[in-house]
């Protein structure tokens, strides 16, 4: 109950709050009988672990489209064949190694699908879209040598040296002197900013 902006002061703050408050405003569009389910707030980790369990069961049954969505009918008016089908029909096998290497489970899934499509001749014509999940579109770790570039943990400048004691990277002698004066906790914080800190589990 304290004003923190120029919009109000002690005298008119309560009046402003009364105007802003949404609690007492009628909301006739809401279903008065609506009872939210218990414990519906889940964090991403929980949701993903639930989803991956479900995904695994889908894989066993081998069905990609379980009827929880209506697939978009591919447009055939243009000169182009549906994109995904095109991608899978060219090349030697339709198995795209490049993206299969991104995730092992995807590779396995794709192999399974390929085997299925070879067994059933008509299946190859279907749009063979991969199941896209929240986790498998996450981009893979970098393979490019540029990700090995080193920058000073303190100043962000290029870092030709690494202190073997603290594992901090540093730019020059002056920064090194500073690093050696730092305590353990700030060293760890610097490492944490680069994601290289020690995590005890």
């Amino acid at each position: 109950m304290a004003p923190i902006t120029q919009a109000s002061d002690e005298t008119n703050h309560q009046a402003l709050l009364d105007k802003l408050d949404l609690f007492g405003i009628p909301k006739p569009f809401r279903n008065p009988n609506w009872k939210p389910p218990q414990r519906r707030n889940k964090n991403v980790k929980q949701i993903i672990s639930d989803a991956s369990r479900k995904e695994a069961s889908l894989q066993v049954t081998g069905t990609n489209n379980s009827g929880s969505s209506t697939p978009l009918v591919p447009t055939t008016d243009g000169a182009l064949t549906p994109a995904v089908a095109g991608a899978s029909s060219n090349g030697s096998s339709g198995l795209n190694m490049a993206h299969a290497t991104q995730r092992l489970d995807r590779l396995v899934l794709e192999r399974n699908q390929q085997a299925a499509s070879l067994a059933v001749p008509g299946a190859a014509a279907l749009p063979q879209s991969m199941t896209v999940t929240y986790t498998n579109i996450e981009s893979a770790p970098s393979m490019h040598p540029s990700s090995q570039r080193r920058y000073c943990d303190v100043t962000g400048l290029s870092a030709p040296y690494t202190d073997p004691k603290t594992r901090l990277r540093y730019h020059n002698m002056e920064i090194f002197a500073l690093i050696r004066q730092m305590g353990q906790s700030s060293t760890e914080q610097y490492l944490a900013a680069r994601g290289a800190h020690t995590v005890l589990k």
Partner: protein, 749 residues
């Protein structure tokens, strides 16, 4: 500002020392933004009146901003951050609910506010807040809700590959709580791409919590070929805060998250050549343009400034009172002197009387009357008084007391046997006086000898220098290096003692334990119980070494620094190769310090000033923070950067794709995190480098990187042909909460 203006003296000294000259005062100092409270927003019923049962409500349910409006609108009617504060004030027994920027109007509300989304992700985490935000949207859109429902179809945006649970819960709320007749979901960046007229291209969408790269062919997104990088403006702001916390560990103020986001948006830019730019970022030349000062609010300690007149008056007053004191003292001295003179006159009279007295009895009577045992005592008293009067007179006149004649000690030569008791006493006294006098003489002689020795030394040194100048310089250099070494060692020891685990400290603890124990464990060289402690004077040094904050340290410190100054001044005078630049002062000058440039820019820092202590300097951070999208490893994100992702999609996954050339011709940037200056150019340049030579590449930016997603969604919602992609309430009831209909701009299963 006065602190940054270099004094004329500072400029002079820079000319010959090679130090960097301080820059003129900073031309602009930025401030932190106020809490982003936007004022009371009115309820907008005009849209509701214009709408029909077919008109959709369009909500861009973003993680930085929720935008809502009608499908016929050109811009969203409502814009708010996805925040809600809902709490009960126990003092007045009343519940409050504040949504959106309203939470920034009040201290308690801001403290209680919660976000819809899990921090740093695009997945809804707090569904009560989500409901609160939807309530706010529908209230402000003026939904009448006579039938107990919102009565209008809804178009919502959702993240790429939204998690089933998130969509299910959202559908449940929309259909069951708000009674929506039908709902459609689509991907925000694809809406934006469509709004900007794209059909085939590579959509690079960097938004608040994540960055997506999505190839679109013939208006249909190839979601299976898309990729997400977990980095957006939220992470950038968080990273900046982390860096600033490390940069200024004892910063007195606090920077809030919205303020950090504003700092990222206002001051950061994408470097075109990161490697080169960062390596020269803290160079002295032009640092004043690269360095940005952010002033945190502060309260300056009030120093009452006195006017010239007041100062003069105070000085006059002081002088006046001093003079009065002096006068008083002089008066008192004079009175004392007069009294003494009177006394002296009396005693002289007495002396005369005694001398005139004829009988011994008379003499004794006279002397006893003034408590003198014999005549000598009286003489002595008179002599003393004369001396003190002379001294007092001298003091008033300011005369130097004349050189005392060499005192004589006649009794010392006389053997004890020839003296009576009184004589022996006097002899003892004389002996004491003589030893004191001798000591003074000795000290005087010693002083003179020392002076002579120094002069001799100086003479020899001068001679040596004149005869062997090179050797002399060499020696001086060596002694200077020795001093520097000792200073360094002292500093290191000091630092080491602060660290409990350092070798120096461990040795100290060992020594303490050893001294305290009854049976010292120290091995003796030659046996025997006597450890000879104290035989060598250095043994006592142990007590000095175990003392932590040594008082004598300061003396030594002064000594070393003074000695170094002395040696350096000699070198400056006689060594032609040793210039002002080489002195330790110049070498440790702040203008040469990289850390100073990093922390305080090219300006001097006054630790006393509250104003400067509350300043943040953004320099390297300005390009270091947004660079993470290109090099996630900088911030410890174990993912490929957007160029590597895009090249992976273009050169590997879609290498043989028929539309690859078309994709290259339209690389499309959208999302708030792409609005950094230089983003387009950098991406184009780096992409060109990973493509084969001569590939036709075109990178373009959305007209409005933040708003176009909503506009695209509104346009899509308004097109009659798209009604078939809405999930109706009946379908929801029949097919379940996770059911959606695939369309070109939405997620598939």
């Amino acid at each position: 500002m006065p602190a940054a203006v270099p004094t004329p003296m500072a400029i002079d000294s820079t000319v010959n020392s090679g130090r960097n000259s301080p820059k003129p005062a900073p031309s602009k100092i930025w401030t932190l933004n106020e809490p982003p409270f936007e004022g009371v927003k009115p309820i907008d019923t005009q849209g509701w009146a214009k709408s029909t049962e077919k008109t959709a409500i369009v909500i861009d349910f973003g993680s930085s901003t929720v935008r809502a409006g009608w499908s016929f609108d050109k811009r969203p009617r409502i814009t708010l951050p996805p925040l809600m504060a809902s709490y009960r004030d126990r003092r007045i027994n009343r519940s409050f609910t504040f949504v959106g920027s309203d939470v920034f109007s009040d201290g308690t509300a801001r403290g209680q506010s919660k976000n819809i989304y899990e921090p740093g992700s695009n997945i809804v985490n707090n569904w009560s807040v989500a409901e609160g935000v939807l309530d706010y949207v529908f209230v402000k859109l003026g939904i009448a809700g006579e039938s107990g429902t919102i009565e209008r179809p809804l178009v919502m945006t959702e993240p790429v590959a939204n998690l089933g649970y998130a969509r299910k819960t959202m559908s449940e709320i929309l259909f069951e709580c708000y009674g929506a007749p039908s709902v459609a979901y689509g991907i925000d960046s694809l809406f934006s791409y469509r709004y900007n007229g794209g059909r085939t291209g590579l959509v690079v969408s960097s938004s608040y919590t994540s960055t997506h790269v999505i190839p679109v062919v013939n208006s249909k997104a190839l979601l299976s070929q898309s990729a997400r990088l977990n980095w957006g403006r939220y992470q950038s702001a968080e990273y900046l805060l982390k860096l600033l916390k490390l940069k200024y560990p004892s910063f007195p103020g606090k920077i809030s998250d919205p303020q950090a986001e504003d700092l990222v948006r206002d001051h950061c830019y994408i470097s075109q050549d990161y490697e080169n730019e960062i390596s020269s970022y803290l160079d002295w030349t032009g640092l004043e343009d690269r360095d940005r000062i952010i002033q945190h609010p502060f309260t300056e300690q009030v120093i009452i400034q006195k006017t010239e007149e007041e100062l003069a008056r105070a000085a006059e007053k002081r002088k006046e009172s001093g003079r009065r004191l002096q006068e008083q003292a002089a008066k008192m001295r004079l009175e004392k002197l007069i009294r003494k003179e009177e006394e002296l006159a009396y005693y002289k009279q007495l002396q005369q009387k005694v001398q005139e007295a004829t009988t011994k009895k008379e003499t004794k009577r006279l002397l006893d009357g003034d408590e003198f045992s014999n005549e000598e005592k009286l003489d002595k008293k008179i002599k003393e008084m004369e001396k003190s009067i002379k001294k007092a007179r001298n003091k008033d006149v300011g005369e130097e007391p004349e050189e005392a004649e060499v005192p004589v000690f006649p009794l010392l030569e006389v053997p004890d046997a020839e003296l009576d008791e009184d004589g022996i006493k006097q002899k003892r006294q004389q002996r004491l006086q003589k030893s004191g006098y001798d000591a003074r003489q000795r000290a005087k002689a010693e002083k003179a000898a020392e002076k002579a020795r120094l002069e001799e030394e100086q003479r020899l040194d001068d001679e040596h220098r004149e005869n062997h100048p090179d050797q002399w310089i060499e020696e001086r250099q060596a002694s200077r290096n020795l001093l520097l070494q000792r200073i360094k060692e002292r500093d290191r020891l000091k630092a080491d003692l602060g660290n409990r685990k350092s070798l120096a400290n461990q040795m100290r603890m060992k020594n303490i334990a050893n001294l305290a124990s009854d049976t010292p464990t120290k091995k003796r060289r030659r046996g025997g119980d006597d450890d000879n402690f104290g035989a060598d004077d250095n043994d006592w040094g142990i007590y000095r070494t175990i003392q932590k904050d040594d008082v004598s340290d300061d003396e030594e410190e002064e000594d070393l620094d003074a000695a170094l100054k002395e040696v350096e001044s000699q070198l400056l005078k006689f060594d032609p190769n040793f210039t002002e630049e080489n002195t330790r002062d110049a070498e440790t000058d702040w203008t040469k310090s990289l850390m100073h440039a990093f922390l305080r820019g090219p300006w001097p820092f006054d630790p006393e000033s509250q104003r400067e202590a509350n300043q943040l300097h953004l320099n390297v951070e300005r390009i270091r923070v947004p660079e993470v999208v290109f090099q996630p490893a900088i911030a410890g994100v174990d993912q490929a950067g957007i160029v590597e992702i895009a090249s992976g999609i273009l050169n590997e996954r879609l290498a043989d794709h028929a539309s690859r050339a078309d994709l290259l011709k339209d690389v499309f940037l959208t999302g708030g995190n792409t609005t950094f200056q230089g983003f387009e150019e950098r991406l184009a340049r780096e992409l060109q480098a990973v493509l084969e030579a001569g590939s036709p590449l075109r990178v373009r930016r959305a007209q409005d990187a933040s708003l176009d997603a909503w506009r695209g969604a509104a346009r899509w919602a308004g097109e009659a042909g798209n009604t078939k992609y809405f999930v109706s309430r009946a379908e929801f009831l029949e097919k379940g909460a996770e059911y959606i209909k695939e369309h070109e701009l939405g997620n598939g299963m």
